[in-house]
């Protein structure tokens, strides 16, 4: 199973939104460290297990991510602030891809 995670968001919150379940990262520090390192921006997490949370029986389960989760992009994580992107570009030495689009 692949799950998207954007580095601009909190890992667990985003996982919870996507899975609709309480997300618990077994390797929280490992993943946070990778998020802080910057790109790749998107996490793909495999081998998700459901388990009951003690004292929270109303929860249907938790997304449990094993060590060694694979990282890869699932979709483009656009930002809408060019100034912020320039800051990131300066730090990462990466070019900016600026897409002008018409939402209609």
């Amino acid at each position: 199973m692949d799950i998207l995670c954007n580095k601009y968001n909190d890992v667990e919150n985003l996982l919870s939104q996507i899975t609709g379940k309480l997300a618990i990262l077994s390797e929280k520090n490992h993943i946070k460290e990778q998020v802080q390192k910057g790109p790749p921006l998107v996490f793909s997490v495999r081998m998700i297990k459901l388990r009951k949370i003690s004292g929270k029986r109303s929860q249907t389960g938790a997304a449990f991510i094993r060590k060694g989760a694979t990282l890869m992009a699932m979709h483009v994580c656009w930002v809408d602030n060019l100034a912020k992107a320039q800051e990131t570009a300066r730090k990462t030495n990466k070019p900016i891809l600026l897409d002008f689009f018409n939402p209609q």
């Binding site: 790109p39 790749p40 921006l41 998107v42 890869m72 992009a73 699932m74 979709h75 483009v76 994580c77 656009w78 930002v79 809408d80 602030n81 060019l82 992107a85 320039q86 800051e87 990131t88 570009a89 300066r90 990462t92 990466k94 070019p95 900016i96 891809l97 600026l98 897409d99 002008f100 689009f101 018409n102 939402p103």
Partner: protein, 152 residues
């Protein structure tokens, strides 16, 4: 782009690995004017100072998108005088990702990057030879015509 190209996992992976992706709506008149954009989709490659290095206008299917912006990344490196990086990107593009629409320009700039890196003009002559043999009708073959004067 939003329904075909950007949801493609290969495109997503490519963009996230190689770029800081920014999306702005056409209602952002300030940026539209600053970058002289009058049609969508228009996609630019910028540096950290906001300076433009490459531009694509119109829809691109996933494979062409990746090849086009590999080229855009190479042009960015070339402009920033990071010639080794530019050559590596272009070599990869020309040898491993042969999208015909992008190839003539990629071959042209492969020669340019090699020349700028080494000051040896022979790669420019190789550009002329390759383009006239493989893509004789392309505009890039015409642009390379002066290089036929360089001894092989």
């Amino acid at each position: 782009m939003g329904t075909v190209t950007y949801p493609n996992p290969g495109v997503a992976k490519f963009v996230d690995l190689n770029f800081i992706p920014v999306q702005v709506e056409v209602s952002n008149k300030e940026l539209m004017q600053k970058y002289n954009v009058s049609w969508t989709p228009t996609i630019l490659v910028l540096d950290a100072d906001g300076k433009e290095h490459y531009r694509s206008v119109g829809f691109l299917p996933p494979d062409t998108f990746i090849a086009t912006f590999e080229l855009g990344k190479a042009r960015y490196y070339l402009d920033l005088e990071q010639y080794a990086e530019a050559r590596a990107v272009l070599e990869e593009l020309v040898t491993r990702c042969p999208v015909p629409e992008v190839m003539p320009e990629a071959i042209f700039f492969q020669g340019v990057a090699a020349y700028k890196h080494t000051h040896d003009p022979k790669p420019l002559r190789a550009v002329y030879d390759t383009l006239t043999a493989k893509y004789p009708q392309s505009e890039w073959a015409k642009r390379a015509e002066p290089y036929k004067l360089i001894p092989a």
